[in-house]
């Protein structure tokens, strides 16, 4: 775009205006860029002790879209996900090089860990509701971040459960223990719990792999709706799921990001032969 503008403009206007215009358009382009990409990963290298788990990974996660990370076990996709909200900090011997930004801010320097994790919520592989009531589970996050009024909490709990499409099922048992729910309900409760702190990005770490097909379908449907308000990044082992739900897909192999692009293109017309082999089910 920028190049085109610079090439066309000189014939019509003075050189000085051209320079100015190209500067302006450059700025606009940058703004557009940052408006569309919510999180960016630049030259990320990650080590677990001596093991080089992610090799020079760079990609940007577009705002209000679902990005799927796929690849065989041990390829680093979950590792990348956990790096986005610094859950890897908890792993002993984990070292991160490179830059990760959230809305242009450095996630490892400009934002405090707790704030980052509030803004970048996470739903784990196994549903992990706390051993407390449904209500307290949802209210845990808001209370952590300073919301104390009962009326406010009530409202947040209802809104979050509604967004996670589980309000109707749970509205009569808010005071009951969350451990009594079915696996699928627990996972949607965990999504509601993550939504309750008003995150901007939602990370799903194989969040349907422990669930039955019906619960999985419900969560997939939910994810498709959530992307209107959130940026969703999901790790999945299920390629059909990536195809159904995601807009962009990144394929990882042994710590390398092999290919990143629109989901349709990556599945129907992959550039790299390794991607082609994986998405056609020849290995993995």
């Amino acid at each position: 775009m920028n190049d085109n503008g610079a090439a066309v403009l000189p014939s019509k206007t003075e050189p000085s205006r051209t320079e100015l215009d190209s500067l302006v358009s450059l700025e606009i382009e940058q703004e557009l860029d940052s408006a569309f990409s919510k999180m960016e990963v630049n030259n990320l290298n990650l080590y677990y002790g001596e093991f080089h788990a992610l090799k020079d990974v760079s990609l940007s996660f577009p705002k209000n879209e679902v990005t799927a990370l796929i690849g065989p076990s041990g390829c680093g996709k979950s590792t990348l996900l956990k790096t986005l909200n610094r859950m890897n900090d908890l792993v002993v011997g984990c070292r991160v090089d490179g830059k990760i930004t959230l809305d242009g801010e450095d996630a490892y320097r400009d934002i405090s860990v707790n704030d980052l994790r509030r803004r970048v919520g996470m739903v784990f592989q196994q549903p992990n509701p706390f051993p407390m009531s449904v209500y307290d589970n949802i209210a845990f996050g808001p209370r952590t971040h300073g919301i104390k009024k009962h009326a406010d909490l009530d409202e947040i709990v209802e809104q979050s459960l509604r967004r996670a499409a589980i309000w109707d099922e749970l509205k009569d048992r808010l005071k009951k223990s969350a451990l009594g729910l079915s696996g699928g309900q627990q996972q949607r409760l965990c999504i509601a719990r993550a939504l309750a702190v008003q995150p901007e990005v939602l990370l799903l770490d194989e969040s349907t792999s422990a669930l039955d097909p019906i619960s999985t379908a419900k969560i997939e449907e939910l994810v498709s709706e959530l992307k209107n308000d959130y940026t969703v990044i999901m790790v999945t082992h299920n390629m059909m799921q990536a195809l159904r739900v995601s807009d962009k897909t990144a394929f990882f192999l042994l710590g390398d990001m092999v290919e990143f692009g629109n989901t349709d293109e990556l599945f129907t017309n992959p550039v790299d032969p390794r991607t082609a082999d994986y998405v056609s089910g020849r290995f993995g």
């Binding site: 859950m87 994790r117 919520g121 706390f130 051993p131």
Partner: protein, 322 residues
């Protein structure tokens, strides 16, 4: 309907195994080793399992019988001698009242727990939740506590006498005794708390951290509630040791059967000597003048311990429910 649906499924299943089977049979002979197993094998297995069953039943019966025997013996010898005079406020060599000792027991146990529980639970929380996992320091602390757990109580008593009684000039007192007991039960509380915390799945911690909660909040709100029953049962164990301890207290708290005079002396009453129920029994038994009252005291001690255990169980059940 079902039948119709089943048939093709079955057919295809048979087909699949048939194909796989043909493949396997073509390459490998069937395993024939089982033909040569001697018929006595079954017999010996049956005998071994019978013997084992007998041994475990016998173990269970002996264990229960011993307990019943002891409790029964104490009850038969003690219950007839439980008299009102045994519960008089003041101890004299006439009434050999156990009331001061009963109150001292409660005081002693409460004081040692007040000292030991915060330190023990706190250090366990540090070891599990704060210290880097698998660090050398954690391993050293763990080995140390395990060793301390195995030390006979008389050694703690000796240390208490040299340090609290003599060096700190606290004398034979409630305070010296409570501090000594606190050191003695610290390893128990630490270890049980540690085990309880380690048993809490990491997913709770991840959940807390993942929502942007700090370490303190994650530990207190997500981890502690699940660990609470385990921690409580550890504290009960420690309490049991306090109530039953004699050796360590003889050296540090003395044997004067009196209730520390908090009304008259205020905080200085902590420096009064006192005699817990277990020590009281030891003294009575070694004097040999009041054997009947000794048994009566033993009955009371038994009741105290039983009530404590029941209360603890109720507390744990309640914690589990919430």
């Amino acid at each position: 309907m079902m039948g119709k649906n089943d048939t093709p499924l079955e057919l295809s299943a048979v087909g699949a195994t048939g194909a796989a089977g043909a493949n396997a049979v073509g390459n490998m002979p069937p395993i024939s080793k089982y033909d040569n197993v001697s018929p006595r094998h079954n017999m010996s297995v049956r005998i071994a399992s019978l013997v084992m069953r007998g041994v475990v039943y016998l173990g269970a019966i002996v264990a229960t019988a011993v307990l019943l025997l002891i409790v029964g013996y104490i009850l038969i010898n003690g219950v007839p001698y439980i008299t009102p005079s045994l519960f008089e406020w003041e101890y004299t060599s006439e009434n050999v009242s156990l009331m001061p000792a009963l109150i001292d027991t409660v005081l002693m146990a409460a004081c040692s727990l007040i000292i030991a529980v915060p330190i023990g639970v706190g250090s366990a929380v540090y070891l599990v939740e704060y210290a880097p996992r698998g660090s050398r320091f954690v391993r050293i602390v763990r080995i140390t506590t395990e060793t301390l757990q195995g030390i006979p109580s008389i050694i703690y008593g000796l240390f208490g006498m040299l340090f609290f009684v003599t060096a700190l000039h606290w004398g034979l007192s409630l305070l010296s005794g409570a501090c000594t007991l606190a050191i003695m039960i610290l390893p128990t509380i630490m270890r049980t708390t540690e085990e309880a915390l380690l048993a809490v799945p990491d997913s709770y911690r991840e959940g807390g951290f993942g929502l942007g909660a700090g370490r303190l909040r994650t530990v207190m709100r997500c981890v502690m509630p699940s660990a609470a029953p385990g921690i409580t049962s550890g504290i009960i164990l420690a309490l049991g040791r306090c109530v039953g301890e004699v050796a360590a207290l003889l050296f540090t708290a003395g044997t004067i059967a009196q209730i520390p005079n908090f009304v008259g002396q205020g905080a200085f009453a902590f420096l009064d000597s006192c005699r817990t129920l277990a020590v009281h029994m030891y003294v009575l038994a070694s004097e040999g003048l009041h054997m009947n009252e000794t048994y009566a005291t033993a009955v009371v001690l038994l009741v105290v311990v039983t009530v404590l255990n029941l209360a603890a169980n109720v507390a744990i059940k309640k914690l589990r429910k919430d």
